[in-house]
Amino acid sequence: MELIFSLIVNGLMLGSLYAMVSVGLTLIFGITKVINFAHGEFMMIGMMLTYIITTYLGIHPYLTLVFIVPLLFVLGILVQKYLIEPLRNSDEHVQIFATVGLSIAMINLVLMIAGSDNFNTPSSGMRHTLDLGLATVLTGQVVIMLCSIFMVGGLHLFLTRTQMGRAIRATAQNRNAAQLMGINVSRINMVTFGIGIACVGIAAVLLSPLYPVNAQTGQSFVLIAFVIVVMGGLGSITGAFFAALIIGLVDSFTGFYLGSSLKGVAVFGIFLMILIFRPSGLFGKARKLAHVS
């Protein structure tokens, strides 16, 4: 019993970490319809910057949020404005290749500057274990779990309760009509891309005390994030959140009972099943795909 409880807790911890990484990806896809293959690399850059700033300024890793989140927000806006927007009227495959190209360029830029070494951000107490009675967790994991709930809740409130949020949803649901309301659609796309990248920036900072970073780190996380985004129903933030928790649990249980080498088989096996039987995602309604195009 204790074992099961502990596996559940660890699964949920891992799941909320995946949720943080996936939320920005699904937001960008849902609103701008761009599949951002460079998403993981923005996270990697965020983790690298966290490492550099904490090491050289000697501050707590979480304090780097103040620099990194605005920086990644601006970076996201620039990518949308100068890379994606000029391709708006070309074939969507061209946009995909553009983000894949951006991803490869970012990885190689980091490889060139920093090599392929692992960098460890100081854990600053975030690797302390907390005894929850039936399970033990790391302080940093609890922070990630709480923050992922705030992030999903905050984004949901932003999208439903604010004028800007409603304009973002309107743009996603009918770009043409949104323009006719007076909404500047290119501006909405820039802001959305910025927010999505800022979200992965938050994830990057919170992950840094727990995980080492190297040029390839983004790749390992983003692959799972794509599974989650599809499973959550392409573009649905709450869908992605629950899908991430499910993947976290699957990861935790298969890792224990089948061995960690088989975790990937289970996760991607589920991914294939979803693509075959419920391509609109576990929570998505089938028709949602109709206005994804």
């Binding site: 409603r166 304009a167 949803r169 009918n174 009509a177 323009q179 007076g182 909404i183 500047n184 206005h291």
Partner: protein, 234 residues
């Protein structure tokens, strides 16, 4: 109020409108009639900035708006109610209506305008908290018109408001158009339902193959042989 001077436009290399000139004066109800593919919708899309003008010019209240993007045209006081309603399907009726008041000039008058608009559409008022896509076609058209009115436009443009609606709803739509015009809003309306439209319009333009081929008082055109044969089936 609104002038199109020798406007040409189209999609990519294909020109659809050739040398179109038309005028809408303040307080008028003007209609553009024509068959399928004649260029009616393209004219409206060009006017509202959804597609760019390749030659000629468009002015509104003596200011040039030829190359303004769509969202800036809205800010000048021109609102297009697009064909096929184009609501935001996964938003509530109220949210759709709120989006209509997005332009700054409309935001400040939101409360008062909402009351005025809902008074015109009692059915919409009953369904404010329903998902837009759960409404019937006729109700959706009413929401689309209400949403357009929320922008407090000086010129309100309708693109085929009666398309695909039951006859009883069609006459309700035309009643609303009449009321909007009577309240002082200038109206430009594009329709295939020529007979109904000529009854509410002051003046009309006839468009064929992307060119204006005829224009005049709505009453006169109703008696014109070409119009009667081609559009009224008499």
């Amino acid at each position: 109020m609104l002038r199109m001077n020798n406007v040409s436009s189209g999609y990519g290399a294909t020109t659809i409108l050739h040398d179109v000139s038309l005028e809408v004066k303040k307080g008028e109800v003007v209609t553009i009639v024509g068959g399928n593919g004649a260029g009616k919708t393209t004219t409206l899309r060009t006017l509202s900035g959804l597609i760019d003008t390749s030659a000629g010019s468009i002015t509104f209240k003596d200011e040039d708006i030829t190359h303004l993007p769509a969202h800036q045209v809205v800010n000048r006081g021109i609102t297009l109610i697009p064909e096929a309603r184009q609501l935001f399907p996964e938003m509530t009726v109220l949210e759709n209506i709120q989006m209509g008041a997005y332009r700054p000039a409309a935001k400040s008058r939101y409360e008062q305008r909402l009351e005025e608009v809902l008074a015109l559409f009692p059915r919409v008022k009953e369904r404010l908290h329903q998902q837009a896509e759960s409404l019937s076609g006729g109700e959706q058209q009413m929401v689309a018109i209400a949403r357009g009115m929320m922008a407090c436009p000086e010129l309100l443009i309708f693109d085929e408001p009666s398309l695909g609606l039951a006859p009883i709803v069609v006459s309700q739509v035309f009643d609303v158009v009449k009321k909007i015009a009577e309240s002082g809003t200038t109206v430009l309306i594009v329709e295939q339902n020529v007979q109904q439209t000529l009854k509410v319009a002051d003046r009309a333009y006839v468009i064929e193959n992307g060119r204006i081929v005829m224009d005049g008082q709505a009453q006169e055109l109703m008696g014109n042989d070409h119009i009667r044969k081609a559009y009224l089936g008499i």
